[in-house]
Symmetry: C2
Amino acid sequence: MFQVQILGTSSAIPTHSRLPSAQVVTINDRHHLVDCGEGTQMQLLKYRVKLARLDAIFISHLHGDHILGLPGLLNTLSMYERTTPLTLFGPAGLQEVLDLIFAQTQSYLNYPLEFIPTEEFQPGDIIYERKRYQVRLLPLEHKIFCRGFRFEEINKRPKFDFYKAKALEIPNEYFPLLKQGNTISLPDGRSIGPDEVLLEPDPPLSFAYCSDTCYHEELIEHIKHTRLLYHEATFLTNLKDRAIATCHSTAEDAGKIAKQAEVGGLILGHYSARYKDLQPLLEEARAVFPITALAREGHIFHVRDFSK
Amino acid sequence: MFQVQILGTSSAIPTHSRLPSAQVVTINDRHHLVDCGEGTQMQLLKYRVKLARLDAIFISHLHGDHILGLPGLLNTLSMYERTTPLTLFGPAGLQEVLDLIFAQTQSYLNYPLEFIPTEEFQPGDIIYERKRYQVRLLPLEHKIFCRGFRFEEINKRPKFDFYKAKALEIPNEYFPLLKQGNTISLPDGRSIGPDEVLLEPDPPLSFAYCSDTCYHEELIEHIKHTRLLYHEATFLTNLKDRAIATCHSTAEDAGKIAKQAEVGGLILGHYSARYKDLQPLLEEARAVFPITALAREGHIFHVRDFSK
């Protein structure tokens, strides 16, 4: 399983239907939160995301609409008696903000919070590694220090060719051994090697989170061939001047980045509060890159659905 | 107009249907926000509270569930291009929290924020004064420094006796002058003094906000005869030990305070996340003080409805 659930799609000002930035990236059964705008813990509740499966939080930058839900969420995790460690990536100033809020509110976390400043890495560096996936840092260009994140599968297991195994009349109880790469000896005397029933693994899936950023060509090489790209699209092109002034992107910018990076699919988000109807943003991006969808609160994108 | 709209009723942990503490006290056409838990700005949007009419914010204490919506709300007011000053009351540490968040997020408010630490006053002191109402500080007893707020009408205008004026055959165009306390001379030679058409004003309305606090008898004299009391009721009496340990109240405690203070009505709130059904809390308080209601997100209480 490799999916992304959208929790918030607004830019700085929330609207009646849109909340500030936050997404849950779920790989296998582990959750990773990317950005944590105000209200994120209520969204996690609403969409019944199991907090016990939350392993790490990735904060792109310190603007309020990306961090103001964090103190409340961390505190709630503690009140739910979490004891397992939580890893938090973000700009160094985040530690200071959290320390002061916890000191002033006299809150203490039950669990170890391991904070890792993103300034310690270069874009492209692997900042988080698990057996089957890893996260790399992406260069974004915004008014303040800002980084994106690329989740990518690694060490994918070969696929087990069930029909081949059945054709070879291998009893089912030998399947686990074969899947793990063992050679087996069958009661009838045959010896079967894993190569006979294992197929090449599927190509690795990947998801890149790119918000907030202006149109930034340096990003392209870092997200080349990413399966699914989330790229902010705060404005339409008729407000390109405003996008440049505020270091944000237009929907067309997002489409151009997706096209040049040859990604499998593009999700837009971080919409300005001025847009009640988001269809024009979608159309603008699709004119450049057709496989584009709108992020909407609650929506789940399955990364495998975006084929290369 | 004197009304209270509930924005949040949860205690520290929000639930599917309950958000952290916040209420809007509206007197005439001016809004006053009391506490500002995470998500308050979205609640204000949802219930279409006109932010331009928000004059002052009153923060009881620095626990996260009472303040974590504040940085986002203050920032949003600025992005809506507010320029009129905003007054903010709260414990002194709040200033430090806001200063650091604004510095780290590189946010700047367009409007003057006048911060007034509540430590500068004694319980009972008038901390905010307008022509027709004022706000007094209330003593609450919690784990950290905490104060309540009592909104009370002052200088109420006499009521105009429309039927008497009609009976005296006074032309309508003289009504405004009479309402303002002037003696008028009519075309028919009669002279009419204001005493002839003005009645005693209605008794002043008042609302007291008391959260968070343990059962605290010192409070009673400060809220004596308050028309409408909001008092926290985090637990049922079977968790009285837990209430004492966490410096919170039971629903029965709230009822006892309401009864001894001889208030006109009681609203319960700040419910522990463990209670899916709030009816037992209501019943427990009503056994002591019958005119009790449950705070619910979005509900508006009209203070005049609670008669003495």
